[in-house]
Subunit: 462 residues, 2 copies
């Protein structure tokens, strides 16, 4: 492959690449809120049309939830049929935008903001997670086809629409479409750089279990003067439960919670030590100083090799303006666990539910809702694709590639391993200050641009 | 006074009394939400017009908050100038209506619902608290004027619009208008019956302190995968604080909380014992069985002579549909205390704030907002007006009047005692199942009707 010609094409085409990304970013494809179902479908169709225009055979595939986009290079010429078949995965769905009032511009009106130093960033919900990231791969493929007229290897692209809501339809889809998706390696672009100058490959991901609990006490809201004292207050019950989940040292107290946790090898720990990240450096940008969490663990250990339990949301009683002296009938919380090693999502869910049930008084009720579950993932350290990726990134960025763990979850990576029997190369260009899942999400134009170039180099190395 | 003629007039006029009440109930005068400021003013004006039509000199008086309605019998003939001057107090503001979806009909479209046994109830927000109750007194006055042509004693009517939001403008108004409001006794109709057949006079009220706390951690919402573990979660901090407020025995743990609590006299406790209310009887109608609160206290002690601390609302993180793996930047709670005896609102507020501050990590922030405060109240047991009220109620209802305590708060009653030097006769006709502060608030038509008749008898006894 004439990589220099491909890179020049990428540079020349940057403006139109950006126009395509903006068109996609302007579709509010929020998967966690049913009000946006139609927008999710619109995003899927937009992508299928774009992939078809590149010569792929592309389809929107219905599921019980949001549709999948599946595109195969059947229709596009492939130069290297003997090369490893690649399955690229991304997700077109995005996080909700609340609190909307903290956005400086509308979240679905993508635009460029220029910093004082002249560098630019793309601002919109999904700019980084994951539209900006996966479109980097797509633009690399487009440039290669434009210059070479053929792909270096067979490529299948799968873009799902439920990643932000726990990918409920994915297991069924993989089971049904397994043979169609079979490949030699998966590529995913949904992770981050080590810092603004240092690219990274993610070797591990934490798993994720989502649970919602609702405590019901009285059969109606009560006046706290008429009933305050003798009547159970579900806010109190819920607060006691949530408070009991962590001990004084930041450890999770749910019995059996740490079962299956694997301690990283000494060498891995030493590598992390060398990255030299202090709690102050990690927490400074978000306005904090002291590490919370397990007292005897470094920040990187906590993020990459330790499980956590976080209360992502809680609500009960009157939360509007002013005051209402009410004892509510119910209170609820959304809780998630991040899993590592061999921890079992099903076992943890049951242990958590037992922990909660034990703390609900006999005359009150508790109900649970499940919000997805996936175990943790770790790639084999001697996988040849890792070396190729490491070198391609080094060539593009001119610096050593950091081989890191990831605190977040990409459920499909585990499915690729266990259902389709392949490892995943996780390369991504997100920066720590991208405000992923927060107001004013952004993606550096440099990350988008060099991300495209990086993927072209990875594909050239096949 | 020809009480029989007055009572007949009340019976004959019931339908038009109800029409007037419905007109008032259809005004959504919610004081805790600034969006309803205009509706509060409209309710005030409606009342001033109605009082003026009865011959009172009536005005809407502006305050820094919601306007007051002040009506004096200057303009209406008074038969008994030597009789004790009465100040009647009520409030035209109502509670918010959320959760709106639990109302079977629109809260501000008042209507009658007929039960299977033929009895009727008035359903609307404010039907009982306090529009239906105070209009009972107003209709009694109207009937007396129609039949007798004169009032039995000078009467001043004060209807405020901020009772549900802690009456912030009331102290200033009382200080400024003190002489105008001076009277020999205050009447208030905002309390309840002992049961559907037994009238009650309230001898004591609990005080109320409202506090709102907001915990701020990171300067933005965080992705729980990228930051979960090392980053503080304000939901966890808030849950720990709220959980620590009560011990295992239901006692409040804030240091100094029980300072100023007065143990009721043995005779009073014996009276309450005789009323024979079990926890099962009290909690059954709201779907509960076991008394929460202080373990070593009966239900009536808890409600009438013990202070409480309730979390009326709490919120943090993502609480919409679905799931969002976020660590929020802040979390907040609304907390209220019910006071008894000599407990000091200011001291309790400070003790609570100190308790909270102690539990907020050094790199996080806490802020407080004050939502009103009033001490508890107790009427002198030998006040002659009590005997008159007791007899009038016995005459109307044909049964002994229960002399009770009240768990709720009516801040103005304390102000009447300490600022204007008079005691308050608290008679009310609310029933336990009136859904006060809850969806589907109602007021029995019988309570409205016999409430008017009861007040006519009380006025006749002057």
């Amino acid at each position: 492959m004439d990589i220099d010609a491909v890179l020049k094409r990428i540079d020349d085409d940057l403006e139109t690449s950006l126009e395509r990304l903006f068109a996609l970013l302007s579709i509010p494809s929020i998967s966690t809120d049913p009000a946006y179902d139609g927008e999710c479908r619109r995003a899927a169709q937009w992508l299928a049309d774009d992939f078809a225009a590149m010569g792929f055979s592309a389809e929107v595939r219905d599921t019980e939830g949001k549709p999948m986009v599946l595109a195969k290079s059947d229709g596009a010429p492939v130069a290297g049929d003997d090369k490893p078949h690649i399955l690229f995965y991304g997700h077109y769905d995005v996080q909700p935008v609340d609190p909307l009032e903290l956005w400086t511009e509308e979240p679905f009106k993508p635009h460029l903001v220029t910093r004082e130093d002249g560098s630019k960033m793309i601002v919109a919900r999904g700019a980084c997670d994951d539209k900006g990231q996966f479109m980097g791969f797509v633009e690399a493929v487009r440039a290669i086809l434009a210059v070479e007229g053929a792909l270096p290897a067979p490529i299948t692209i799968l873009i799902e629409g439920e990643e932000e809501s726990g990918s409920p339809s994915l297991p069924g889809f993989l089971a049904a479409a397994g043979d169609e998706l079979k490949a030699d390696a998966a590529f995913v672009c949904d992770t981050g750089m080590w810092d603004a100058d240092t690219p990274a490959i993610a070797m591990s991901l934490r798993g994720l279990v989502g649970e919602e609990i609702t405590i019901r006490a009285a059969n109606r809201d009560l006046h706290s003067g008429q009933f305050g004292g003798p009547a159970r207050n579900p806010n109190h019950i819920l607060a006691k439960i949530l408070a009991a989940l962590h001990d004084e040292d930041g450890r999770v107290t749910v019995p059996g919670f740490y079962e299956g946790v694997v301690e990283p090898a000494a060498e891995t720990k030493a590598n992390w030590e060398r990255l030299g990240l202090t709690a102050e450096e990690f927490l400074g940008p978000i306005g904090l100083k002291e590490a919370a969490g397990e007292k005897d663990r470094t920040v990187l250990e906590q993020l990459w090799s330790r499980p956590t339990l976080e209360v992502n949301g809680m609500i009960g009683g009157y939360t509007g303006k002013g005051f209402k002296t009410v004892i509510p009938g119910e209170a609820s919380a959304k809780v998630s666990f991040r899993l590592v090693g061999e921890q079992s999502p099903a076992k943890l869910r049951e242990a958590f539910r037992a922990f909660v049930r034990e703390r609900v008084p006999a005359d009150c009720e508790v109900s649970f809702a499940e919000h997805g579950g996936s175990p943790a993932f770790r790639v084999a350290e001697d996988w040849p694709m890792l070396k190729k990726g490491e070198q391609a990134l080094k060539d593009e960025w001119g610096t050593e590639t950091a081989m890191v763990g990831m605190g977040g979850s990409i459920p499909i990576v585990h499915s690729f391993k266990h259902k389709l029997g392949m490892d995943t190369l996780m390369i991504g260009f997100a920066l720590e200050d991208d405000n992923v899942h927060s107001p004013n999400e952004k993606y550096d134009l440099k990350c988008f641009h060099k991300g495209i170039r990086s993927w072209a180099r990875v594909l050239a190395a096949l």
